[in-house]
């Protein structure tokens, strides 16, 4: 905890200081600005409409930031201050509109701090005591004390617990490690939570966000993440026939399939407009249920999806938009940027199996990592701390988390390893494919037609101080926290703690 409360935290963490920029300059001259960031796109239609006027206005305003050879360093110190303040000091009444999203506030701030290199283990005890009053007597979690259970609240609550319990326990001997996990998860009524999730299941295969609430793929994704991270196994999901229960995941894959639109993207539900946020939900959900190359080709037209996804990246901005003909927004760095690892894993799998030999072929990055990093560092940092949608917008906790997560996607190679050895406790998990993800700082360039490696992409992190932590591409929490929570459920089930 000391490093969090200490006002000099940044120095202990070896973070950026005021002299950062000059250091960078003295090392080597910055790379020239790529042409695409130096002016408006080559083609601009004559016809002006509301959409094109807003787009032009945004592109012009962003140009001032991206057309600069000195890409700013990530100012971790001020962002950390921005994120610690709400946790420690609380929020003003202006945040009453988030009173039904209390677990979200915890997740956004704490995960963003973890991305910035802060040891958030010291928060675990207070996370537990903050979340306990949110558990509903009939199962599940509400957005606040006494509130009805909601899928997104449960999702954010579980993510937060997995993050802070990992940090608190990671350097401890086994018995104390177990103590931390028992304290962090032992109070959750898993059976009632499962019973509650069953009440949100829809006949069309999907889920709704709560009883009497709306249906969308967000609800399905959140449900799967909760089930995967709380270690539910096949038997539990199959249900109890004597209680007239049906297998919980029945019809879900085909439900996702129906959400792909005429544009190639994915919408909130069938017929809804293709949207980056919902696309991420479906892609991650599919990859929790199978190998990327199988599920993303069986339940999607992958070529069309990739075409749509690729069209989300704009120049001169470098960032992503969430829908066709909408503006870039820093939060899509995660929703769109996060899809790329999954798509590339599928493309690599397809190409490798197509060679007919045992060759690991690699298609390389299908998107522009450097352009996204430039957008994030130049446009999404508020000078007073916190990250934001775009210049001119105020920073907030939601954007802080998802902009940084997107930066992690740009800086790291996240890949699916089908040869990964899994503990026996996971072998029976319906979500075992979700636990086969790894990360590397080396991002491969495309391999040649003979399957020979093409080397690594260079200069993705222009300044080491801008580097953020590695995250799990499906769960959006620190990568290693996911393996640890799985280990805990193996231990807990073996010891019949449950």
């Amino acid at each position: 905890m000391s490093e969090i409360q200490d006002p000099n935290a940044s120095q202990q963490l070896g973070l950026a200081d005021a002299s950062g920029l000059s250091n960078q300059r003295s090392q080597k001259p910055p790379d020239p600005v790529p042409t695409m960031h130096r002016g408006l796109p080559y083609i601009l239609d004559d016809l002006g409409t509301e959409t094109s006027r807003k787009q032009l206005q945004t592109a012009r305003s962003v140009l001032k930031y991206v057309n600069d050879s000195r890409v700013p360093t990530l100012d971790k110190t001020t962002h950390i201050d921005f994120l610690i303040e709400p946790l420690e000091d609380g929020l003003s009444r202006g945040f009453t509109g988030l009173d039904a999203s209390r677990p979200w506030l915890l997740y956004w701030c704490i995960n963003a701090l973890a991305l910035l290199g802060v040891d958030v283990g010291g928060y675990n005890e207070r996370v537990v005591s903050s979340l306990k009053p949110l558990q509903h007597k009939d199962g599940g979690f509400g957005g606040g004390n006494g509130q009805a259970p909601h899928m997104a609240s449960a999702y954010a609550a579980i993510l937060t617990l997995v993050v802070t319990s990992y940090y608190e326990s990671r350097d401890l001997p086994k018995d104390r490690w177990m103590g931390v996990y028992a304290r962090s998860f032992g109070w959750i009524d898993r059976q009632k939570l499962l019973d509650w999730i069953r009440k949100t299941k829809l006949r069309n295969g999907g889920f709704k966000v709560n009883e009497g609430g709306e249906e969308d793929v967000r609800a399905s994704y959140c449900a799967l993440v909760i089930l995967a991270l709380l270690g539910y196994d096949e038997d539990e999901l199959r249900g109890d026939v004597s209680r007239d229960e049906k297998p919980l995941l029945d019809g879900l894959l085909d439900y996702f399939k129906r959400c792909q639109t005429w544009e190639g993207g994915i919408g909130a539900k069938q017929h809804s407009e293709a949207h980056g946020g919902y696309a991420f939900c479906v892609l991650s959900a599919l990859c929790l249920l199978g190998e990327p190359q199988d599920v993303l080709t069986k339940y999607l037209d992958l070529d069309q999806f990739i075409s749509w996804l690729s069209a989300r990246q704009y120049a001169p901005e470098g960032g992503f938009s969430g829908r066709t003909n909408k503006l870039v927004d820093g939060c899509y760095s995660t929703w769109v940027g996060g899809c790329w690892s999954l798509v590339e894993a599928a493309a690599n799998g397809i190409e490798s199996s197509g060679t007919g030999f045992d060759i690991d072929s690699n298609v390389g990055s299908l998107w522009n990592r450097k352009a996204l990093a430039r957008y994030i560092l130049a446009c999404c940092q508020d000078p007073h701390g916190g990250l934001r949608d775009k210049p001119g917008m105020r920073p907030d906790y939601y954007h802080s988390n998802y902009v940084l997560l997107g930066l992690s996607a740009a800086q790291n190679y996240y890949y699916y390893d089908n040869a990964m050895s899994l503990p026996s406790s996971i072998e029976n998990s319906p979500f075992k494919h979700g636990f086969c993800w790894k990360s590397s700082r080396n991002v491969p360039k495309p391999s040649t037609s003979e399957g020979i490696g093409g080397g690594w992409e260079e200069g993705l992190v222009s300044n080491e101080r801008s580097r953020v932590g590695t995250q799990h591409p499906l769960f959006n929490i620190p990568l290693h926290a996911v393996a640890e929570i799985q280990e805990w459920w193996g231990v807990a089930k073996g010891a019949e703690i449950l």
Binding site: T51, P86, T96, L98, N145, Q147, W262, S272, I306, A347
Partner: protein
């Protein structure tokens, strides 16, 4: 995802502690747990109203006063899904006992809908408001005036995702796949031909709703003409190109039929005359299918170097895939699109 509450409230003040209507209720305080993180410093008004709500919910009370209490809270936090849900249950309970439209209560479904719309205009990004409206209209089984209500919202933001979701539900629930709906999308596209939400809705009402079934005669021709006209007005508009492709796909018409149309916007031998990167994109596919890898590569090279350079890696990937798709057998009869 969530909207912040506005601090300027113009709701009438409810005095829970002194008003005899609430005298029988013992407010329940909030339990935030020991030493909680990210606590919110509520206004006294919000704290009191919520403590009365908790007591009311614990007693499963659905009396008329719940309407005042819930609207009070929603005025301070429109994203409070629990409160919306409880309000709807209360409305239904009053409706069942036929007391909702009672004079004493002074409330009606119509008034509820008007109130909901006033909240919707204040909080444009909100899931609960439109779901609440959907529940009510579903119950009333009457869509009268509802298209106009969404129209008002489109005047504020013609791409509001929540409002479009509601509009789609409305059209499906009441089978409003009619001329009025078609005209509504046409009018939005007239205003802004780049409104992708309007294109999406048009696809839904014309083709998407058909599922596996094929479109009626003439529909594919009409819709591809619409897209082509839109493209002529603004050749760099991705929505219209995507729509054109999707219509052809649904109609079982080969992409190759678009070759002359695309070439008119993207003559690859005269790069200075290229007016649309989307035409180049489609042409690379058409050339590839025809086995003309040289031209296909040229189109992709132009995209990567000049017309869409931020997607350079994607265009490179597309080059990698050239020739990997089975070319259509030349003896397969193809349906010709009316160009």
């Amino acid at each position: 995802m969530a909207s912040y509450s506005s601090e300027e409230e113009e709701e009438e003040e409810l005095d829970y502690t002194n008003d005899p209507v609430w005298a029988d209720v013992t407010p329940l305080p909030q339990d935030d747990g020991h030493n909680p993180l990210a606590q919110i410093a509520y206004s006294p008004e919000y704290t009191i109203a919520m403590s009365y709500l908790r007591a009311i919910m614990a007693a499963n009370d659905h009396s008329p006063r719940v309407l005042n209490l819930t609207s009070d809270i929603i005025g301070m936090n429109a994203a409070h899904y629990t409160v919306w849900g409880y309000r709807f249950k209360t409305l239904m309970s009053l409706d069942r006992s036929q007391t909702l439209e009672d004079e004493k209560i002074g409330w009606s479904w119509r008034q509820e809908l008007e109130w909901v719309q006033s909240i919707a205009k204040r909080y444009e990004k909100n899931y609960q408001i439109w779901h609440h409206r959907q529940l009510i209209i579903d119950h009333l089984d009457d869509p009268t005036g509802e298209r106009a209500v969404t129209g008002e919202m489109f005047a504020l933001d013609s791409k509001n995702y929540h409002v479009w979701t509601y509009r789609q539900w409305l059209v499906q629930r009441f089978q409003l796949f009619d001329e009025e709906e078609l005209a509504a999308t046409a009018s939005l596209l007239e205003e802004d031909v780049r409104n992708n939400s309007a294109w999406n809705h048009r696809y839904f009402i014309v083709l998407g709703r058909l599922g596996e079934a094929g479109p009626e005669e003439g529909v594919v021709e009409r819709e591809s003409e619409l897209a082509k006209e839109a493209i002529s007005k603004a050749p760099q508009n991705p929505s219209a190109w995507n729509y054109l492709k999707a219509v052809l796909r649904k109609g079982g018409i080969e992409l190759a039929t678009l070759k002359p149309f695309c070439e008119s916007f993207a003559p690859i031998l005269s790069p200075d005359e290229i007016k649309s990167s989307h035409a180049l994109d489609i042409l690379s596919e058409i050339y590839d299918e025809a086995g003309d890898s040289v031209k296909a590569e040229k189109a992709l090279e132009l995209l990567a170097s000049k017309f869409d350079p931020v997607r350079k890696n994607y265009w490179r990937y597309r080059r990698r895939l050239l020739g990997s798709k089975p070319t259509p057998a030349s003896d397969t009869p193809t349906i010709q699109a009316t160009a």
